[in-house]
């Protein structure tokens, strides 16, 4: 993929294909936005087009867009050049689920509540003055205004799937068009907050580096979200465009399911849970004894209680019924008691895997597995599982990788004790032909694995004290903005490691999966 080519598709597809009427007004503003100095492999996948809303925003442009999409006028100039195989109806723009406007229905209420909390006296005075007529008048204004706002945002939001992109077009006054390239997809999440579950709708989010909250499709009907996810994954995998439409859900095979009892026990055996609970109980009590000021106590107790709840009950609810399944289009993670989340990580996207072993879990042989995917906020792969099973799942996530056992890790030389007394015992390193594995931590051990193919750069750092002891750190940077560090290695060994790791990460690329893993 070369730079000019990418720009060409991005620009070419926006101007003629999407905006036949206002093409002239869009083009001047768009050129500089799309043009960046880009080197090969640039992952910026979106093209934001802040089109000048002038002459377009208010004048029924959606109607014309709709018309164009529906009838797909076969004028030759309007066809997107690269997607010649796409049948005209495939480019049809779709709208979100009609309940979507309701998701913002609480916003005016929240504003009112916020104002009342912010200024209680004023709010009370206003409330007493409020008569029924005022109230009715206010409601009569507020409800249609909110409804109109919700309706308009829904009306002006469209999405379309092409062979290579998911396009989201939104905005009433400030137009925004995001083109998300499917071969760059790092993960696809379908989440259902509690209320959305009741309504039978779901949110769909594509994780591509650089996408934000704005680029999620909320809400879609449940079945629609599933079908769209399957279609997007099939297209991202490089399946033929004709079949991608109707392949449906790829079959999945369950690898692991965490029983609720195990999860509860595991959370009870976590130090952080108890730490926050004890802090939430102790600190407000002590403060009350010291100050006898209710407000101070409340101000500290509420955040502490919130943190304690999030780290105990919140984690239980979020990680309830955790299921890991494997399918041809990636790894499926389904979890949640109230809010259900269904995450899919396509093959070859995982940048780092961390196997965490808290102190109290060690006797039972349990581990927690975390993963990093670039541009994605998902971080847990397995909340708790026996070590053997966890390792077999890791082997699925990182093909060909065997997790180095404890004895296989080489410790830093003894003189490292003078640099970090005690803690140096926790450090360890193993380099196999597939991964760079570094361990740290004394009580809660954490072993981070980076496949050689995912290494972006390697660094060797050495402070003055380390130099006196002939020690050095080797840092491996990955694309998920995580750095894995092999601490306190012998200086010569570190220099050799730096050189060899650069070599390995270069050759490791050759065996890596292509971006379109089925093409």
């Amino acid at each position: 993929m070369t730079t000019p080519g990418e720009e060409e598709t991005a620009r070419g597809s926006v101007a003629p294909g999407e905006d036949p009427a206002g093409g002239g007004s869009v083009a001047p503003g768009e050129g500089p936005a799309a043009r960046r100095s880009v080197a090969p492999g640039e992952d910026e996948a979106r093209t934001n087009c802040p089109a000048s809303g002038k002459g377009e925003a208010g004048t029924g442009s959606p109607a014309s867009g709709r018309e164009q999409a529906g009838t797909s006028s076969p004028a030759p100039g309007q066809e997107v050049p690269s997607t010649s195989s796409a049948a005209p109806d495939r480019l049809a723009e779709r709208r979100l689920h009609p309940v979507t406007p309701l998701r913002r229905a609480w916003a005016p209420v929240a504003v009112l509540v916020g104002w009342a909390v912010h200024d209680p006296d004023q709010a009370q005075r206003q409330l007493t003055r409020l008569t029924t007529t005022h109230l009715l008048l206010g409601l009569a204004l507020l409800i249609p205004a909110a409804a109109l706002y919700g309706f308009l945002t829904w009306w002006f939001t469209h999405y379309a799937v092409t062979d290579t992109e998911l396009r989201i077009r939104t905005g009433l006054l400030f137009r925004r068009t995001a083109h998300i390239r499917l071969e760059r997809v790092q993960a696809i999440d379908v989440t259902q907050p509690l209320l959305a579950r009741v309504a039978g709708v779901a949110k769909l989010k594509l994780d591509v580096i650089g996408t934000g909250k704005k680029d999620e499709l909320a809400f879609l009907g449940n079945d629609e979200a599933r079908a769209l996810r399957a279609e997007l994954l099939a297209r991202a995998a490089g399946l033929a465009p004709e079949t991608a439409h109707e392949v449906g859900e790829a079959p999945s095979r369950q690898l692991l399911r965490v029983p609720p009892r195990v999860l509860a026990v595991a959370l009870l055996l976590t130090g952080a849970t108890w730490g926050t609970l004890i802090a939430a109980a102790l600190v407000p009590t002590l403060l009350w004894l010291a100050t006898h000021n209710l407000w101070t106590v409340l101000a500290t107790a509420l955040p502490l209680l919130g943190a304690a709840g999030a780290s105990s009950a919140g984690r239980f609810v979020g990680e309830y019924d955790w299921t890991v399944a494997e399918s041809p289009d990636g790894l499926r993670l389904d979890h949640g008691l109230l809010d259900r989340a269904h995450e899919t990580v396509p093959p070859g996207r995982v940048q780092t895997v961390r196997i965490v072993e808290p102190l109290l879990w060690r006797r039972r042989g349990w581990v927690r597995v975390e993963l990093d995917v670039a541009g994605s906020s998902n971080s847990v792969l397995i909340p708790v599982a026996p070590r053997g099973i966890a390792e077999s799942v890791v082997a699925r996530v990182l093909p060909g990788v065997t997790v180095p056992a404890g004895p296989a890790l080489s410790r830093p030389p003894r003189r490292a004790a003078r640099c970090r007394p005690l803690w140096w015992r926790g450090y360890g390193l193993a380099v196999t032909h597939t991964v760079f594995a570094a361990r740290y931590g004394l009580l809660s051990r954490s072993l981070a694995l980076v496949p050689h193919a995912k290494v972006q750069s390697v660094r060797r750092t050495q402070g003055p004290w380390q130099r006196a002891l002939r020690l050095a750190d080797v840092r491996v940077d990955t694309g998920a903005n995580k750095t894995v560090t092999a601490r306190l290695r012998d200086a010569d060994e570190a220099a050799e490691l730096l050189r060899a790791q650069a070599e390995r990460s270069r050759t490791g690329r050759r065996d890596a999966l292509p971006d379109r893993w089925m093409a």
Binding site: G41, D43, P404, A430, Q456, R459, Q462, D477, N481, R506
Partner: protein, 173 residues
């Protein structure tokens, strides 16, 4: 090279033979001149201020305070040279090496295929001294690969070469 066995982390001896010794390039003296000038200008002003103000308001003995920034300037003069000497880079067949730092040393290796973006920047002061810096970005934000104080022609040559090599060896995430 052979990296098959899981315990070859300490196998420094076997690979020594295949090592292609990098050809290091230092930085041109322009950067040192610029940094020293900036140091002299700022600390010179500070010396004046530290000497004059207390000297005038509190009595002549307080003018001794001016020795503090003066000492700092002398120390900085020497330190800047050490730091400048420590910066060096090497273009190898498949990756770029950058080494820097006196007390806190850092050596970075960036494979060409990982480069996402190469930037040449030059501020007003740098332009006056005919300097430009090259910065490499990979998908990892922690990769801090900057070569400061290059000759603009060299910076552009490096940028073009890096881009060209990166394109040839391009790889995704």
């Amino acid at each position: 090279m052979e990296t098959g066995s899981p315990d070859d982390t300490g196998a420094a001896g076997t690979a020594k033979a295949t090592r292609d010794d990098p050809v290091w390039t230092g930085l041109p003296p322009g950067l040192l001149r610029m940094r020293r000038l900036l140091l002299v200008v700022w600390l010179g002003l500070l010396t004046l201020a530290a000497g004059l103000l207390p000297g005038l308001f509190l009595g002549p003995a307080w003018a001794v305070l001016a020795l503090l920034p003066l000492g700092l300037a002398v120390w900085g003069w020497a330190m800047l040279e050490r730091n400048w000497r420590s910066w060096r880079y090497a273009e190898r067949a498949d990756d770029l090496l950058i080494s820097r730092g006196v007390l806190w040393r850092e050596e970075t290796v960036v494979p060409y295929g990982r480069m996402q973006l190469v930037e040449v920047t030059s501020g007003p002061v740098e332009r006056h001294f005919g300097l430009a810096s090259v910065q490499l970005h990979t998908a990892a934000a922690a990769t801090d690969a900057t070569i400061p104080g290059l000759d603009p022609a060299e910076a552009e040559r490096l940028r073009d070469r890096l881009t060209e090599l990166g394109e040839a060896r391009s790889a995704g995430l």
